[in-house]
């Protein structure tokens, strides 16, 4: 059975969200809930660190699209970093790699977030 842990750290006013595990139809609702909570609490700058996500499906991508749209409504931002090639491929297949800010590391994502 799959499981997803989510760590949240704050650094310089940015929420760094680190999911740990596959993000799929079974687990993406948990990521969605955490992102919605952050945004509802007034967080406007989020970095999602995907270094511990070996797999993501379209429900995970949809979750990130939804968060990005919510943040753009409040002039906020969301960046993704540390994608493995398999996760990056789904963004490319869905042609969303140009829609998101995708960085190689948390440090690279922070200044522009």
């Amino acid at each position: 059975m799959s499981d997803l842990q989510i760590d949240i750290e704050r650094r310089d006013g940015v929420a760094i969200v680190t999911p740990r595990g596959d993000v799929d139809m079974a687990t993406s609702p948990r990521l969605r809930t955490e992102l919605k909570k952050l945004i509802a609490a007034g967080t406007t700058r989020i970095v999602v660190d995907l270094s511990h996500v070996p797999y993501m499906d379209s429900s995970g991508v949809a979750t990130l699209v939804e968060a990005m749209k919510s943040l753009r409504q409040v002039a906020g931002s969301l960046a993704l970093c540390n994608m493995n090639p398999r996760v990056r491929a789904i963004f490319e297949i869905a042609r969303l790699d140009q829609y998101f800010t995708i960085c190689e590391s948390i440090e690279e994502a922070l200044p522009g977030t």
Partner: protein, 169 residues
């Protein structure tokens, strides 16, 4: 059912055109928590058949998306309905080839209505069908007797989306 509707003779012709070998057949419940195990199986079988790691994981992604559509739209998230998955190696192809057949007992839908959405309209959801078509060479929906739908997916060789990078893992 439009162009995708096929009678028994046509279905038999497709099945006979490439002789299946090394068949794996499993039955799963329509429980999203089981998807991780199924995609691990699909990726492992695809890799054994000669696909590289990235292509194997993409084939597993296509199957995962198809199963998610059955669970979400076919069975409306009911978790105890049956889904059958068959995996065949197709031997008489120019490159290594895999055929995956997914069957369910969900409501029958018009195959012409199962289509990708406009990707320029960036919004959550609706990407699954597009992903399946991008990864697989053949995507065929048809009604299943006595109930449900049958989806046949075929992938030949390691051809991949041009922008995808190889994964040495």
């Amino acid at each position: 059912m439009g162009a995708v509707r096929q009678g028994p003779c046509r279905r038999r012709a497709i099945a006979m055109s490439s002789e299946p070998v090394n068949q794996v057949r499993i039955q799963m419940r329509s429980d999203p928590r089981l998807l991780a195990g199924v995609r691990e199986l699909v990726a492992a079988v695809a890799h054994r058949l000669g696909f590289d790691q990235l292509t194997s994981s993409q084939i597993a992604l296509a199957v995962d998306e198809a199963l998610a559509n059955v669970i979400c739209h076919g069975y409306e998230r009911c978790c105890h309905k049956p889904i059958w998955i068959s995996i065949d190696e197709l031997k008489d192809q120019p490159e290594h080839a895999i055929r995956i057949v997914i069957e369910d007992e969900a409501r029958t839908v018009d195959a012409d209505c199962i289509r990708s959405r406009d990707l320029d309209d960036v919004r959550p959801g609706g990407l699954g069908v597009h992903i399946i078509h991008e990864i697989m060479d053949t995507v065929q929906y048809e009604p299943r007797e006595p109930a449900g739908m049958r989806l046949t997916l075929i992938r030949v060789g390691n051809r991949r989306p041009a922008s995808a990078k190889d994964d040495p893992a």
